[in-house]
Amino acid sequence: MTTEGPVGAPERPEEASAAPQPAPDAKPGRHDSFGSVFLHNLWSANTVVVTILSIFLALIIGAILIIVSDANVLKTYSYFTARPSDAINASWAVVSSAYADLFRGAVFDPAAVSAWLSGGGTWQAAFTPISETLTYAAPLVFTGLSVALAFRGGLFNIGGQGQAVVGCICAAVAGFSLPLPIVVNLIVALLAGLAGGAFWGFIAGFLKAESGAHEVITTIMLNYVAALFLTWLILQKGIQDPNRSDAISKPVPESAQLPSFGGALRVNLGIVLAVLVAAGVAWLLNRSAFGFELRAVGANPAAARTAGISVGRTYTLLMAVAGGLAGLGGATQVLGTAYALTPAVAGNIGFDGLLVALLGRNRPWGTLLAAILFGALRAGGNRMQSFTGISLELVTVLQALIVIFIAAPALVKAIFHLRAARSARLGTSMAKGW
């Protein structure tokens, strides 16, 4: 693990964006200077440090994968003992160029920015990376919030994918089949996506409340039912694009599309909506009566029942709300970027939302930041793929690894010999089973 050093600058900005909270609190009652408290906490297993180290570890393992999959670099390792510098230089070159492109595609490209400042380029080119990052992040915010909210109520919503697919279907169908004026059409389409996802989530919540069917099993199964339904639906008359023979629906008219900012940039109203919804979920969770109930049920269903909370009703409502959020994510995807239904229209946003929620530690604002990090990885991955020729799949690996380390803070703590943090709230694991 420690043989590779070539992970330099690129990971820094992501660290910054992933850090959900400022430096942890100081010990009460002692009069330490800020500096000593900071240093003391620097190497303890608190949320920020574990998150940063998780990203760091993931990038190192990603670097190893890049190296072992590159035949030219591997050749230099055959004479490593004779001239180690060749191997190290070659490894550094391939890894640093890959991660540099990841950074340029996700945050900013120094060349484009300097061109803009010196009058040679456009501001659009300078802001394209950020635009791409936010475009990819927007649906993930919704699906991440869906999973996070359900988690807080003690439910594991793996059905984000299916709910997003149903949201896509409803939003797109409402978008292209209802002849409505410009703003109304968009609102109706978004609400249709919300309702579709909510219905799909409701099924799982209702079954859980009525019969105790485990939501993990039912939502996994509902994911596939939704995906198969989509592949059937887009080939039906009235849905399929009459000018096409392949599996694609009619396009969503402009009146129902999420408007984008600034011409050439793809970033659209979806990300604004996402921030507003994150604020709404934060309010729902921490300030509303329903939020209190769901947190009580999540912490201890038996105690909540004794206290007079209807656990079944909470489960049903919670899954409907979570499903609605994921459905909005699907709607953002189809109204914001895809503009038509295809079998893969929802991509992987449901499962990515799961990772986003875990990375955001099931808190609304944490989820928002995590979604932006994932969006950045995805946007950077596109550039990495086209410029350095390193498969976009590396991004999937990085995302999965980050979340594995986040979910197992004890592992990170053991690898880096971190001190135990007093104020650590690292318990993302729920450990409930079926």
Partner: protein, 418 residues
């Protein structure tokens, strides 16, 4: 909590499980007789005992058959409603479901033919990875470790089989490395779920993504650039047992096939006997139901769980070999396309038992085979809806509409010694 209440309340109710099943069967039978019978064209439905249209065939008028089998299903349902003795209930349920399926087939096949041998062997082939994946699930989950990472183990197995199978130019090396690939994912699952008690469902889902990412990445970087030297594995040979292979229908299906089929079927028997008759099985069940009690009598809970998860990983990995050594001749990105989750469904639908898993896997395999057949003959029933069958059946099973399924008590709960 809800579970316990329902179980205590059940005997006193008139609408107990057999009666509810009876009503469901009667409704299905009426649908079959009325709808399938009315829709069936007048031609004969021919079920040929061969790979194709030729040869001996069981022939029945489509309309008559659809109505006849529908009436049989109604009769079976009525028997359940009347309240027959316990041991006859399962028989009647089986008869009713089979009659419903046959009625459906009579409608679909009327005027056409259905090659029985081809259908049976296709069913078994499609069920093959499901059987192995579900068995892996049985072994892990009976000892209390939830395995949602079957999909990842399949992918890793399929990838390992293709890569090593090509480099070593041997299908057997491919099969072994498929098992190793499965063990790799299983090892991560075991360490994270047992040593660092992370939520097992979370770990499973993330490992699926990791496996998809790693295999996809290496596929694009290594296999796509030079498919000939990295992605053209030899196929597992087809073995024919002389004599036995000449038995009609069963012979070609069971005794003229690849070795993975025998491995899977024998493994079902072995796991069944192992779980019910051996010391290992008793301990596995004890650890899965009540780890504290097992620990008290001196069973090493975590050690046993490690062993079981790793063995399960090898089995699921071998199941992944099906995709590159049997079904197709090369690895593709995400080629398992959800088979791991169908295997999970088979495990749950089969109530966490080896033979239940086998039955469920065969049922799901049959549904898939039927879906391809029906879309090939241009049936009005969309293949997507038949492909939904495994998932919907599992939802119905866990929702307790057809008898409740119950997981091992400690499934998914990490054991931390106090």
């Amino acid at each position: 909590m809800t579970t316990a209440l329902a179980e205590i309340a059940a005997p006193s109710r008139f609408w107990n499980r057999p009666r509810r099943l009876g009503v469901a069967l009667v409704v299905l039978g009426i649908v079959a007789a009325a709808v399938f019978g009315a829709l069936a064209p007048a031609g004969n439905a021919r079920f040929t005992i061969s790979q194709n249209e030729s040869g001996a065939a069981i022939s029945i008028n489509g309309q008559v058959g659809a109505i006849l089998f529908g009436v049989i299903a109604i009769g079976a349902g009525a028997g359940l409603l009347a309240g027959v003795a316990g041991r006859w209930q399962t028989v009647l349920l089986g008869v009713g479901i089979v009659a419903f399926v046959l009625s459906f087939l009579c409608w679909q096949v009327a005027g056409k033919f259905l090659p029985l041998v081809d259908t049976a062997s296709g069913t078994l082939q499609l069920a093959l990875p499901l059987i192995l994946g579900a068995l892996a699930g049985v072994i892990g989950e009976r000892s209390g470790v939830v395995n949602v990472a079957i999909e990842g183990q399949f992918l890793m197995g399929a990838f390992g089989a293709a890569l090593v199978g090509t480099i070593a130019a041997s299908a057997w090396a491919g099969l072994v490395s498929a098992a190793v690939g499965g063990v790799l994912i299983a090892a991560m699952l075991a360490v994270l779920a047992i040593r660092f008690p992370v939520d097992q469902v979370v770990v499973g889902i993330v490992l699926n993504l990791l496996a998809a990412g790693v295999t996809g990445f290496l596929y694009e970087r290594v296999m796509q650039t030079d498919a000939e030297s990295f992605n053209q594995p030899r196929q597992l040979p087809i073995w024919r047992v002389p004599g036995l292979a000449d038995i009609p229908v069963l012979g070609p299906v069971l005794f003229n096939t690849n070795v993975l089929v025998w491995f899977a079927l024998l493994l079902v028997l072995a796991v069944h006997l192992g779980l019910s008759r051996t010391r290992w099985g008793l301990r596995t069940r004890a650890v899965g139901e009540h780890p504290t009690a097992a620990d008290t009598v001196g069973i090493r809970v975590r050690g046993l769980r490690y062993v079981n998860v790793l063995v399960a990983g090898a089995i699921a990995g071998a199941g992944g070999a099906y995709f590159t050594l049997v079904a197709t001749a090369s690895f593709q990105k995400n080629m398992t396309s959800g088979a791991g989750f169908i295997a999970l469904a088979a495990l749950i639908f089969g109530r966490w038992t080896p033979f239940g898993a086998l039955g469920a896997a065969l049922f799901f395999g049959f549904a898939q085979k039927l879906a391809t057949y029906l879309s090939a003959v241009g049936s009005p029933v969309p293949s997507q809806f038949l492909n939904m069958l495994p998932y919907i059946a599992t939802i119905i099973a866990v929702a307790g509409l057809v008898g409740r399924v119950r997981a091992p008590a400690a499934d998914g709960q990490p054991y931390v010694k106090s």
